[in-house]
Amino acid sequence: MDNFELPPLKELMNYLSHAKRLGLQVIFEDGKKMTLKMPYHSDLEILEGTGYVAHGAVAALVDTAFGMVIYKQFLIPHRLVTLDLRIDYMGKSDPRQDIYADVICTKLTREVAFVNGEIYSDGKEPFALAIAAFSHSSVGT
């Protein structure tokens, strides 16, 4: 379990099977902030034909975005584990629209990373808020 190397950020998405399956893309990154996009696809619908993306897919988007923004804070690869994650759904997303997650790493301590984010569909007010805490440890220690 010890002798492996974690990939750099740009290649990271290719290693995350589920993120790849959802077609997630990093469209903005700067310091402690990052934006991920989840392109609309009919496979993501919660009910066939309605165009509404499942909350589960939104959760996967947020969880991935949190992981990636924290991953980026370190110079060497770190192993990240989600401790807890909360999502508040304030409304509906727009049907058949791409979904975006703006995330920010608010605080990094020796053991824990705190993150929060807003989720919205094309240029609108956020329809969901998320907040999470991750444990981090450098690989091999």
């Binding site: 379990m1 492996f4 974690l6 290693y15 995350l16 099977s17 589920h18 993120a19 399956r21 959802l22 009919s42 496979d43 993501l44 619908e45 919660i46 009910l47 066939e48 993306v53 499942a54 909350h55 589960g56 897919a57 959760a59 996967a60 988007l61 947020v62 969880d63 991935t64 992981g67 192993r79 990240l80 584990v81 989600t82 401790l83 807890d84 994650l85 909360r86 999502i87 508040d88 759904y89």
Partner: protein, 153 residues
């Protein structure tokens, strides 16, 4: 519709069926099971697409949150016999153990059902029911959107 499928299952004592009419549930490989004791379990069949971290392979948090939410929805829809989709207000997930690359089982319990809101606790386990890999608290709005109501301020 998912609730239509549930209605059709009401007459059956024991069943295990894939969740129909929901493309995302299909992607996750969700199945709905009812055992001899009448307990509803939602199963997420393992596939490589569910992996988050590859070294060592662990399930992605997203599908686990989705499973907790779907298990809660099925419990609500089954117990309350509702035909509309309740709105999720919030989901509070605690991740307790790494998700191994294998099937996941989830069940939910209604802790409080009020007139407007329902509070549920859900959990996911793999090999051992007493060693959950994730738990969650959820709130749902259970007002039927097709029924008119007087707006309160």
């Amino acid at each position: 519709m998912i609730s239509g499928q549930l209605k059709a299952l009401k007459d059956e004592e024991v069943f295990e069926v894939p969740v129909l009419g929901s493309p995302y549930s299909k992607m996750l490989g969700l199945h709905l099971k009812r055992d001899e004791k009448g307990k509803i379990t939602t199963i997420m069949k393992y596939s490589d697409d569910l992996i988050g971290v590859p070294f060592p392979p662990a399930l992605h948090g997203g599908p686990l949150i989705a499973l907790l939410e779907m298990a809660s929805f099925f419990e609500l829809a089954w117990e309350l016999n509702i035909e509309f989709i309740p709105k999720t207000i919030d989901v509070n997930v605690d991740f307790l153990r790494m998700g191994k690359p294998q099937d996941c089982f989830a069940s939910a319990k209604i802790f409080r059902r009020g007139r407007r809101f329902a509070n549920l606790h859900a959990k996911i386990w793999q090999e051992d029911f007493d060693k959950p890999i994730a738990t969650a608290r959820l709130h749902f709005l259970i007002i039927d959107p097709t029924k008119k109501r007087v707006q309160k301020d």
